[in-house]
C-alpha cells in the first residue's frame, strides 16, 4: 500500500471530509465566542462539500451534478455567514460582548 496513490482513491477523500467535519464539531463545542462558532460551522460545510465532490468524481454518472450542488452549498454558506455576522454585530451592540455565555436573556 502506497500513500502516493491516495489521490486517486475515493476513501481518502471521504476520510478527509470526515476529519474536517470532526474538527468543525470540536470547534463548535469548545469555542466560547459566537464568531468562533461561525468559523467552525464553515469547516462543517466544507467537509460536506468535499464528500459531495468525492462521490461526484468517483461514482456518480453525471459529474456536473455534484459540482453544481457544491456551488449552491457555497452560496448558502455565504448567505449564512452574512446573516450570522450581522446578528453577531447586533448582539455585540446590545450586550457589549460576543461571549455565547453572556447572551442568556432568553434562558428559562
Amino acid at each position: 500500500m502506497s500513500i502516493l496513490a491516495l489521490y486517486n482513491n475515493l476513501n481518502s477523500f471521504l476520510v478527509l471530509g470526515a476529519l474536517l467535519f470532526g474538527i468543525g464539531i470540536y470547534g463548535i463545542v469548545t469555542r466560547r465566542t459566537l464568531i468562533g462558532m461561525l468559523i467552525a460551522a464553515e469547516l462543517l460545510l466544507v467537509g460536506a462539500s468535499i464528500n459531495f465532490m468525492a462521490f461526484n468524481r468517483f461514482t456518480a454518472p453525471d459529474p456536473v451534478v455534484g459540482q453544481v450542488f457544491t456551488l449552491f452549498i457555497m452560496a448558502i454558506a455565504a448567505a449564512e455567514a452574512a446573516i450570522g455576522l450581522s446578528i453577531v454585530i447586533s448582539v455585540y451592540r446590545h450586550y457589549k460582548s460576543i461571549d455565547a455565555e453572556d447572551t442568556v436573556q432568553l434562558k428559562g
Partner: protein, 182 residues
C-alpha cells in the same frame, strides 16, 4: 478521466503519478493544519487566517477531483468573500482587549475532542466498509457542461439561490442597522 489506481500498485516518487500524489498529500496537510489552527487559536484573527489556509488547501483538493471551476469558486467565494466578511465582523465586534472570557468548564475540551473523534471515526469506518457502486460517466463534467446544465436543468435552483442571496443581504442590512429612534 483516469480510473482509480489500486492502492497496492505503488507509483515511484519521481514518476508523474508519484509527484501528483506528493502534491495531493501536501494539499491535505495544508487543509488539516489550517482547520486545526482555525479551531484552536486564542485570537480570532489568527483563527480566520487558519480558515483561509484551510480553504486554499480545500481548493487544491477540488483540483484533484477534476473540477478546477469549483476550486476557482472556492477561492473566490470563501477566501475572497466569506473570510473577508468574518474579519470585518471581528474588527467591528471583537476588540482584543475585551476578549477576557470567563473560565469555561475543564470538561469542555475532552468532551469536545471525544465527540469529534467519535464522529470522525464513525464516518470513516462507514466510508471504508461500504462498497460504493461505480457507474459509467455520461459526460466529462467540464466547465461548458456545468454552464449548460446550470442554465437548463438547474435554472430554477439557480434563480432561487439568487433570491436567497438577495434576501440574506437585505436581512443582514436590516439586522445590523443602527436604530436611530432608540
Amino acid at each position: 478521466m483516469n480510473p482509480p489506481i489500486p492502492l497496492a500498485e505503488a507509483p515511484s516518487l519521481f514518476s508523474v503519478d508519484g509527484l501528483v500524489g506528493l502534491v495531493f498529500l501536501i494539499m491535505v496537510a495544508i487543509t488539516i493544519i489550517g482547520a486545526i489552527i482555525a479551531c484552536n487559536s486564542e485570537r480570532l484573527v489568527r483563527s480566520v487566517a487558519g480558515l483561509i489556509v484551510c480553504f486554499v488547501g480545500v481548493a487544491g483538493v477540488y483540483y484533484f477531483l477534476n473540477s478546477p471551476f469549483v476550486a476557482m469558486m472556492q477561492i473566490l467565494i470563501y477566501v475572497g468573500a466569506v473570510a473577508v466578511t468574518i474579519s470585518f465582523a471581528i474588527m467591528l465586534a471583537a476588540p482584543e482587549e475585551k476578549m477576557k472570557l470567563g473560565s469555561s468548564s475543564p470538561l469542555v475540551g475532552p468532551f469536545g475532542l471525544g465527540t469529534a473523534a467519535l464522529i470522525t471515526g464513525g464516518f470513516s469506518v462507514l466510508a471504508l466498509r461500504t462498497e460504493w457502486p461505480v457507474m459509467t460517466k455520461i459526460n466529462d463534467g467540464s466547465v461548458k457542461n456545468i454552464g449548460l446544465q446550470l442554465l437548463t436543468n438547474f435554472s430554477m435552483v439557480f434563480e432561487l439561490v439568487s433570491i436567497v442571496l438577495l434576501i440574506a443581504i437585505i436581512g443582514a442590512l436590516v439586522i445590523a442597522r443602527v436604530r436611530r429612534e432608540s
